[in-house]
Structures are given as C-alpha cells and as structure tokens.
Amino acid sequence: MNVSFILLAIITVVGTAAAMGMRNAVHCVLALTVGLAGVAALYLQLGAQFVGFTQIMVYVGAVAILAVFAIMMTHSPEPAKPPTFSSFWTVGSVVAASVFAVLAWAIHSSSLAAHTLPPQPEVTVQQIGDALMHRFVLPLELMGLLLTAALIGAVVIAMNHREEIK
C-alpha cells in the first residue's frame, strides 16, 4: 500500500460521498467530478493511460456537464426546499452498508493475497487500437450502433413537442 494510492483513494471516496450527501445538486455534481477524476488517476496509476483519459473526457467533459444542464433545466421554481433524502433513507443506507459489509468480507476472506503484482505491462494506444479492430470488432460495431441509437433516442425524448400540439 503506497502513499499515492491512499491519497487517491481518499480523494475518490470523499468526492463521491460528498456527491451523494450534499444538499445543493450542483455542488453534488462538482464533487462528483472530483471523485471521478480520482478514479481516473487510479486508472493512470494502474497503467491504463487510455482508459484514464477517456474517463476524464467522458465523465468530466460530458456526463457532468449534461447533469448540470439537466439540473438547470429542471430547476423548480418553488421556494420551499424539499428534504434532500427520501422518506425511507434509513432502509436505503442500511441496505448499502450491508452490501459493503458483505463485499468487504468476501474480499477479505478470499485467496487473493496469493497474487503478486506482475511487472508493469507496456500498453500502447496502438495495441488497444489493434485489439479494437481485430478481436473486439463486433463489440465495437455494436457500441457504435448503441451510441447512435442513444443519440437519436435522447434527442427524440427530450425534444419539445409543444409546437406539434399547437
């Protein structure tokens, strides 16, 4: 366990916990970007450069911006602030805590300690591209189809239908 891992883990956990616990929705999204940047840094630490930068680009550049846009567009005009947490928040947190307990117990009691760290693999972007174009070409095509469908679907769902009604 080294210092950089501990630091990044603290950043990630604090950021994501703040994202799920703060009152103001925009603050939540800003905290989320900190947490997800921490995850991206963890990827970099593990030697997955491409995935780390993709993570920053997709989550900080796209998902966070989309989320704040959605928050701005759904800003309710009512002055009274509703409670942040749902009515059954005790049940929810107990469920989440027990899930964590079970997972942690399973990880702790597994035989993973036998694994030793293999030498840092040299992963170039070229190799990733080759793999995407040869071994994983079908999933890649499917992903393209899925993203196109999602693009069109999101536009159709979010489009303003008021003009047609008039």
């Binding site: 891992f5 956990v13 994501t16 799920m20 929705a25 939540c28 989320l32 947490g35 995850v39 963890l42 990827y43 593990l46 030697g47 997955a48 491409f50 995935v51 993570q55 997709v58 989550y59 796209a62 998902v63 989309l66 989320a67 928050i71 567009m73 759904t74 309710s76 509703p82 942040t84 947490f85 059954f88 928040w89 947190s93 989440a96 805590a97 899930v99 964590f100 942690a104 702790h108 993973l112 300690a113 694994h115 760290l117 293999p118 693999p121 992963v123 190799q127 990733i128 793999a131 994983f136 999933p139 992903m143 899925l146 993203l147 999602a150 679907g153 999101a154 769902i157 979010a158 303003n160």
Partner: protein
C-alpha cells in the same frame, strides 16, 4: 494485505456509496449519478483485475472498461433525456412526488 485487495475494497466502497445515493436521494438526476458511480466501481474492478491478472497483454480488462464507459455515457444521455421529459410532464424531479401513473 496486498494491493489488489485494496483496490477491490475501494471499488466496493464506491459501489456502496453509489447504491446508497441511488436509494436515498430524492432528486432523479442524483439517482442517475449514483448509478453512474456504481458503473465506475465496476470499471475500477475490471482495471484492477486486468493489472493484477495472469495475462495483462490480452487487454481484456481495458476493453471491458472502454465499452463500459461508452455504455455509461449512452445511459447518462438517455437517462437525463427521460428525466427532462418526466419533468416537463410532472413539473418536478423529486422522486417521492412522482408517484402517479396517470398522465
């Protein structure tokens, strides 16, 4: 305690935070973000297993992570679109008040 276990513990903690958020937040957008966090925890697991696994040259973990990130992006776009449509309909993103099936 070796390093893989640390990564797995961290990712399970992330997953639980995301799960807690998805279960207890009232704002639909933040519920969606909780789901994104759970997906991220899975990605961290995939990358950690790739790094500590027996055959990192096969790049399987990285590929899974890349596809998972793209699916998460598509999910976020469609999810936020649905939330916007629902907001236009019921004038709220509060999930406790979105409790009627009739239009």
């Amino acid at each position: 305690m070796n390093s893989l276990q640390n990564y797995l513990l961290l990712s399970s903690l992330l997953f639980s935070i995301g799960l807690a958020g998805a279960l207890i937040r009232r704002n639909a957008i933040l519920v969606l973000i909780g789901i994104e966090l759970m997906l991220n925890a899975a990605n961290l697991n995939l990358i950690a297993f790739w790094r500590f696994g027996p055959n990192p040259a096969a790049l399987t973990g990285i590929m899974f992570a890349i596809f998972s990130i793209s699916i998460a992006a598509a999910e976020a776009a469609v999810g936020l679109g649905i939330i916007l449509a629902a907001y236009r309909h019921s004038k709220t993103t509060d999930l406790d008040r979105m409790n009627s099936l009739r239009g």
